[in-house]
């Protein structure tokens, strides 16, 4: 029988995962304000414009508002606060 070796595990230490709850869902979208959040990837604004057109044609009662973070890939607390202040829902696109 071949000799057994004991070796180290090369991985680092991950943080503890703390569960978070999703927000309550809306009963309907009609009459609600939905933010379209541009994640600033190339051409994402064109995608969101097309998404806006789809809503205007199929669910015209949905209010839409475009918004962008100040910088790519960096959390923007001011933008989040603006959405939370009067937004009923948000769609982020198109991001990783």
């Amino acid at each position: 029988m071949a000799d057994l070796l004991t070796v180290h595990d090369p991985r680092g230490y991950p943080p503890k995962v703390t569960g978070k709850r999703l927000a309550a869902r809306l009963d309907k979208l009609d009459g609600k304000l939905v933010y379209l959040v541009d994640c600033l990837f190339d051409n994402s604004e064109v995608f969101l414009e097309q998404l806006q057109h789809w809503f205007e044609e199929h669910l015209p009662g949905v209010q839409l508002k475009h918004i962008k973070p100040r910088e790519s890939w960096v959390d923007d607390p001011d933008m989040r606060a603006a959405i939370a202040a009067d937004g009923d829902a948000a769609i982020l696109g198109v991001g990783l």
């Binding site: 071949a2 000799d3 057994l4 070796l5 004991t6 070796v7 180290h8 595990d9 090369p10 991985r11 680092g12 230490y13 991950p14 943080p15 503890k16 995962v17 703390t18 569960g19 978070k20 709850r21 999703l22 927000a23 309550a24 869902r25 809306l26 009963d27 979208l29 600033l40 990837f41 190339d42 051409n43 994402s44 064109v46 995608f47 414009e49 097309q50 998404l51 057109h53 789809w54 199929h58 669910l59 973070p69 100040r70 910088e71 790519s72 890939w73 960096v74 989040r80 959405i83 939370a84 937004g87 009923d88 829902a89 948000a90 769609i91 982020l92 696109g93 198109v94 991001g95 990783l96």
Partner: protein
Amino acid sequence: MALEEAGVPTVAVHTHVFARLVRSVALANGMPTTRQAFVPQPIVDRTPEQLRSYIEGADPISKRPFMQELIEGLTKPLDEGDLKGVSFERTTPRLVEPDTEDNLRQLFIDNHWTDNLPIILPTEERVAQMLAGTSHPADKVVGKLRPTMFREYWEFTVEKVAVNAVMAGARPEYFPVILALAASGQTARSSSTNSFSVMAVVNGPIRKEIGMGDGVGAMGPYNHANATIGRAYNLLSQNLQGGSVPGDTYMGTLGNWYNYSATFAEAEERSPWAPLHVQKGFQSTDSTASVFFGGWYTHAGYGPRDTWKEKFLHSFAAAEHYLPPVLVFDPIVARGFVELGFDTKESLAQWCADNAKVSAREYWDNQWVKTLLHPLAVAGVEPHATRLKAAPGDLINMYQPEDITIVVAGGETQGAWKMIGGRCTNTVLIDAWR
């Protein structure tokens, strides 16, 4: 996910190639049922009509209509799983279960713990020998790393760094350099779709103490210290940050050979200019490692010949505009520039910054300039805001002089130079880890 915590129901739209990645990020953030909807890749360069067809088509992951996924994600009532979230501890054992050498080698490959080249198995004896290369205790926390800005940091100790240093084939006398690189906070295994890498330049007395190469083949596999320190930096990055696994923790579309090993020493004694670490404010007697994030483009040339200005300007114009260059000069080239009147690195970097120009149209059409720098320009951040005011045909400067790095290395077998994309993110003191 922060919006969900603020009470705003949210759906995130991604392209389908990121499905595995975004689900693992959601799980690590304790919100595994985060609502996601997917469209086909790519978004870039698609026409409005093509993007509209994505919206009216099927989600390539769920196979259900994309808009149904989107609307239900905002309106379908939460179930029990959504409400409770997921909390759990994740642990990493100190040792792997004992096994045969062959089985352990296969285990390391199967778990994506190697760079797919043979490794030295990190036995307890070998790791103990590596730990003798520093005065710091094995359980001291060195730092934390993550593959991207939107993933969680993983933490690691001196011992965990030693494990990876052993795997790379490094010697204990190299260990302070490897610890300094680990402590830099800059991963060498970024998950960016751009296939970035990190190059490290070592300065100061430790170069000679441990026999690092700054001569013939300094940037190739011809020096044991260079090769194994650079390899250790990459292995420790992938393993200590939680992985560098394609489709999950690595998304670089082409990959990058600099991710095997990209570390060398500056030829301070043969350079006519101040060494890099002195430029950064350190003493010449300090030993440091400077890390450069990029490694995406590489140009090369000779000289400085009569047409060096044209060659440089062509190379700058062909570079990725968002990523400034690291110019690596053989000492012959460096001395040639001194003869032309550039008596400091800074004077040559200033010339490069003053003359590296492209049209505004070309600059702002660059995919990553548009993604990363355009939002800053719109927000009024200089110099981006001024560049945005230029007419499409106007020539605009691409780089600031302080962004351009010049390093001297090479064996003087030819007056050769390289221009490699790289932004210096940190210069760390190696002496702190002796």
